[in-house]
């Protein structure tokens, strides 16, 4: 029996383009395997999406109301390390899981996630595992840009796992959510500085939320070696190693905004200057941060399920 590793098989493979006949899952896995191999030994004729400047990859997701009370995903395309997978949804909501098909982002990489929710559609995006920013062979920072667009009557839950800044890494991540006036959003971001007992890399994270063309939140946090001074001091993080943001956008917040409230030592719920609420939290580690944000979300959901005046 001929094994896949035999010279004949290797020579024949490109001509017959094996990935073309495979189901999308397997094709993507094959491509991921290819790019991983290329990354380990950069070659002059390296195929896309790897370039001398690192990986450039974009994942695109479009959610569309299917006219039968459900949500279709006419576009669900991954590239390089970004592999979006549709999973079992619930009710009118479609669910997508971002699977990391290769390690990264690494230095020099440029990754983009572009998710669009059309009018009346409902989409929930999560990730299969934490994203770990690592140093790469290419000098220079990595970029990770998340672009979220939600049309009127649409709803997006963007709930990825943590972003971990490993020692020696350098990542600039931007998340921009652009919402129509009656769109709804639940967005969670968590940053963790270093893996267990590890010094962090450099991480700059900017989060902007726009509703009806008006920016209601624009926040950037820079930390790690090389960040402007004082990032770990008493005004900014004071030794906390995990920080997170939970943003809720609901049209009804325009009439009945949430009341500002302290949620324990390192977290607060605040109404933004627009129909949105923010939970901002710092914690000693990722586990305690997640607990804080989960509790806050449960409580907000409960408050919002009641009559509009019951938002505290």
């Amino acid at each position: 029996m001929t094994t896949a590793a035999s010279p004949q098989a290797a020579a024949v493979a490109p001509a017959t383009s094996p990935t073309a006949t495979l189901p999308p899952e397997a094709a993507s896995a094959a491509r991921a395997a290819t790019t991983t191999a290329v990354r380990a030994a950069p070659a002059a004729d390296a195929p896309q999406p790897t370039t001398s400047a690192g990986v450039r990859a974009t994942a695109r997701i479009v959610a569309r109301h299917d006219g039968r009370g459900g949500t279709a995903l006419p576009v669900l395309a991954g590239e390089g390390p970004l592999a979006p997978r549709r999973t079992r949804g619930s009710g009118a909501e479609a669910r997508v899981l971002l699977v990391g098909a290769m390690s990264g982002p690494l230095g020099g990489d440029r990754l983009t996630v572009d998710a669009r929710v059309e009018a009346g559609a409902r989409l929930r995006i999560g990730s299969a595992a934490a994203t770990i920013a690592l140093p790469g062979q290419v000098p220079g920072p990595a970029r990770y840009d998340v672009r979220l667009t939600v049309a009127d009557g649409g709803e997006l839950h963007w709930l990825p796992e943590q972003l971990i800044s490993a020692h020696g890494s350098d990542l600039y991540v931007t998340t921009r959510a652009d919402l129509a006036p009656t769109a709804r959003l639940v967005l969670r971001e968590e940053q963790v500085l270093g893996r267990a007992a590890e010094q962090p890399g450099r991480l700059t994270s900017r989060l902007a939320v726009r509703i009806g063309g008006r920016t209601v939140l624009d926040q950037e946090l820079a930390c790690g070696p090389g960040a402007p001074g004082g990032w770990d001091g008493p005004a900014v993080l004071a030794g906390h190693r995990a920080m997170g943001q939970l943003v809720l956008v609901r049209p009804e917040f325009a009439r009945a905004p949430v009341a500002a409230r302290v949620l324990g030592e390192g977290a607060a719920l605040v109404p933004l200057a627009g129909p949105a609420a923010l939970v901002s939290a710092v914690a000693p580690d990722a586990l305690r941060l997640r607990r804080l944000l989960d509790e806050a979300l449960t409580e907000l959901d409960r408050a919002c399920a009641g009559p509009p005046g019951d938002l505290r």
Binding site: T215, Q219, A268, V270
Partner: protein, 224 residues
């Protein structure tokens, strides 16, 4: 431009009400995060590169004549804590009163009409600098310096710190103040072509979170 106008505007005795605010130092002292001079220096450095940079860029852009209403909205988006938004507007209103008496200008009158409850203080500061014939650098210097001088003075009172030590903290931050102002003014100049998204949005989570706790204290020495 009269450089002496900068001394008047930046003078701690300029009657704009800044002395009632600690810039988050009172909350940090209570939480045990500022216990001495070294912590104060770290606190001020962190504040300078976050809230200080943002305030300096807003002031610089206002001094350049960018639309103060858009700048005020940009300040709102960069200040998630409603307690801090309220404090910034109160300080803006107090500064407006002093500014209109000191350097009367139609632009100040227009802003006061637009925001009867006060615009964000850095926006008013930038427009005040403009009315005084000062440029974006001077406005940014004022805002950046205020972002650290307030906490330093407040900590002297809160911890009975030696005023000489607190002043030395500020003096040692001077080179970083220069850098922050340079960055702020460069961003402010980009606003004309790129809009307010070009302004920095650097944030300090603990300043925002602690401000909400501080606002709920029944008794406190400082307003913020």
């Amino acid at each position: 431009m009269s450089r002496a106008a900068l001394l008047v505007l930046a003078d701690g005795r300029f009657p704009a009400g800044g002395h009632a605010h600690s810039g988050g130092a009172e909350a940090a002292v209570r939480a045990g995060r500022i216990t001495g001079v070294a912590d104060l220096a770290d606190f001020c450095r962190g504040r300078l590169h976050t809230a200080g940079l943002v305030a300096a860029a807003l002031a610089g852009a206002a001094a350049l004549g960018r639309d103060p209403v858009e700048l005020d909205a940009a300040a709102d988006a960069r200040t998630p804590s409603p307690a801090l938004r309220l404090a910034a507007r109160k300080l803006g209103r107090q500064l407006m009163r002093a500014a209109r008496a000191t350097w009367p200008a139609p632009e100040l009158d227009a802003l006061a009409r637009e925001f009867p409850k006060g615009a964000h203080q850095p926006v008013v500061l930038g427009l005040t600098a403009r009315a005084a014939g000062l440029g974006p650098e001077e406005a940014a210097y004022c805002a950046a310096y205020e972002s650290v001088s307030g906490p330093a003075t407040a900590t002297v009172r809160l911890l009975s710190l030696d005023p000489f030590d607190a002043t030395a903290v500020l003096a040692r931050l001077a080179p970083e103040l220069d850098q922050v102002v340079e960055r702020a003014v460069a961003a402010a100049r980009r606003v004309a072509a790129e809009g307010v998204d070009a302004l920095p949005a650097c944030s300090a989570p603990l300043l925002e979170i602690a401000a909400e706790a501080h606002a709920a204290w029944p008794v406190r020495l400082f307003a913020s």
